[in-house]
Symmetry: C4
Subunit: 207 residues, 4 copies
């Protein structure tokens, strides 16, 4: 297995592939905001009316831009913490990039069916796959001794906890869809905003 001992060890290229993929997925989200056709739109009032129909699509768009940003930072932080990559880690990160490419699809589905539990369930599944593959990458890196020595056990554990807490919160948020999908979407947005702004609710991170 000489090939496999050498293959897939270039971290710079894994990062470049990831950055390209995230950049593309983030821009694809916007393709869902279809410009109203000039046909039947005569006045500025008509145009405002047509644009008003796009507003509900903006919410999943913003949510998914935040989601992709959060997981992009998460992957970056994980890779920054490693001394090197190996073939297995590269494959785990390729597995992580798969649900990244699915985000435009699940976002579009949610935008089209804001009040459907099925659409919300698929969106949650996408969030879960992002977290699960990133977690698998980190667990493997710890197991295979790829983590930088400067990160002590407490810090390493904090990486684990970070993903587990986030995924628990997503799961709770998604469960609110049993009451109302709008409530569940609002909860997931609040969770994401929390990760963006990292407010001072310190006890949560001390768990």
């Amino acid at each position: 297995m000489l090939y496999n001992a050498i293959a897939g060890r270039n971290r710079a290229r894994l990062e470049a592939l990831s950055d390209g993929l995230f950049a593309f997925a983030m821009t694809l989200l916007v393709l869902d905001l279809r410009v109203p056709s000039a046909f039947g739109v005569r006045t500025d009032g008509d145009l405002l009316h047509a644009l008003a129909h796009l507003v509900p699509r903006f919410v999943p768009y913003l949510l998914s831009f935040m989601t992709l940003s959060i997981f992009w930072i998460g992957q970056q932080t994980q890779l920054n913490g490693l001394t090197r990559t190996d073939r297995n880690l590269t494959w785990l990160h390729l597995a992580f990039l798969l649900p990244v490419t699915l985000v435009p699809f699940s976002t579009s589905l949610l935008a089209e069916f804001l009040d459907s539990r099925v659409a919300l369930g698929i969106y949650w599944l996408n969030l879960f796959l992002l977290g699960a593959t990133l977690y698998a990458g980190w667990r493997y890196a710890r197991h295979a001794d790829l983590v930088k020595a400067e990160l002590d056990e407490a810090t390493r554990d904090s990486f684990d906890r970070r993903i587990i807490i986030a995924q628990s919160l997503y799961a709770v948020g998604a469960t609110l869809a049993l009451v109302s999908t709008y409530l569940a979407i609002a909860a997931i947005i609040l969770i994401q905003l929390n990760y963006v702004f990292a407010p001072r609710i310190r006890w949560l991170y001390r768990l």
Copy 2:
């Protein structure tokens, strides 16, 4: 908050993500130039006629290519001026990338409704969000002491002024839409050309 102390500090990846996103947004603009269908086009005269209808779409396309180029250089210059990035700065730049992904949408809207003040207003709002987020990034970098020591106060102030003057000009340009949207578009194009060619109207930069 161990995770947040480590997260999002990789400038190379922020740059790579940004370059991918700008490259994609610039190329997406062109998707708006739909090739006429062969159906109903029999002679070269017919084709010229069909292409003539695309000409008004070329103007917003060129305008937005210039806009994205100007802000790409603006972001590059800001990041070049920093010793390092941190998590907050990364998030401010992600907030800057959000309106970048919106440029193909607002350009397409303007191309479809060249004489609509609503479309022009949304295009201006996009320009404003680009400037506001880039300005926030710079103000934060100064505040958090991320700027290279070799940039003295006068240079740092010139970065601030640059954005504020450009945004003031855009706002004045957009206001011309009260007279005519074509006039407003022409004004914004002239402002962008000024930034591309940086002519010798030195007094403007001495303000």
Copy 3:
């Protein structure tokens, strides 16, 4: 021929172009998963029913994501093994990138016509072109003495064998379409999974 002696020797840019192209091809695959229109979908049951029609499209999508990942790692490993690139090698890798851009097309064709031998034949042809151009790059690199000294002859030969064995397996897999295209697709998926998980069937690599 001064120009040609200097041209195309930048490995970093070849890698960046490749990463961008792979990232884009991987994300394009997902565009084939069209979100069902809200029109005619009223209940969650309707939506599940509509999504069930998308399931057969998921199989070629996953297959092609694996395929692109395998060839991305293959190209990365080849380039990692070289001391430098030259103009000819760059052109051979550009020839390799051509079938990479075709993967979304042949995947989409296979997804649309899962039971067609023509669609499967074109998909196999795409796999063959990926392997043949990557092989040509490697043979040329050995011939032109671009390979790192630290890779001994046995290792170099293992790179050759790797591609030849994979291509032989693809050809056998594709031939199964004479019995059933589903059988052929299953065989190719199993071959790809073997390369992803690199199981302990060691005798195969000792050939």
Copy 4:
């Protein structure tokens, strides 16, 4: 003008933006190869028949992939020959990237109207803009003393000649459309193949 003295001097980012843009334009070409709809295609014979209609689209696709590859290598070679970039050179290369984004459009137009002199003229104009902006970049770099000292005058001149000869050949090739557009396309393809394979017609490069 403090800002302009600092702005746009990062060559790595110009290269990254260019690679992303080229990668995207190359992959967009393939979107023109629309997969036939399953509707009305029942047998493999039907599918072969439907695919046969796509063959004429393959020719412009391959031509443009070669074109983009040639100009990508051309830009890479120019940037490799420079010690540094400055703001003006960056803008000239952004002007070069504009016609790069237009290649998918002019390719699509040519594929749709293979026998139209207007479509061929626009394709030629695109080639001309690519060459003219790349030439302007090189002339400016020589003028502003950005070229590496190791490139002597003869080598620098060979860069000039390279573009001028290629553009002269394109112009002659395009003129053949007065006889037949197919002849003109064949001529341009032959010119591109010459640049890809750089055959031993040495006298041409000695001009």
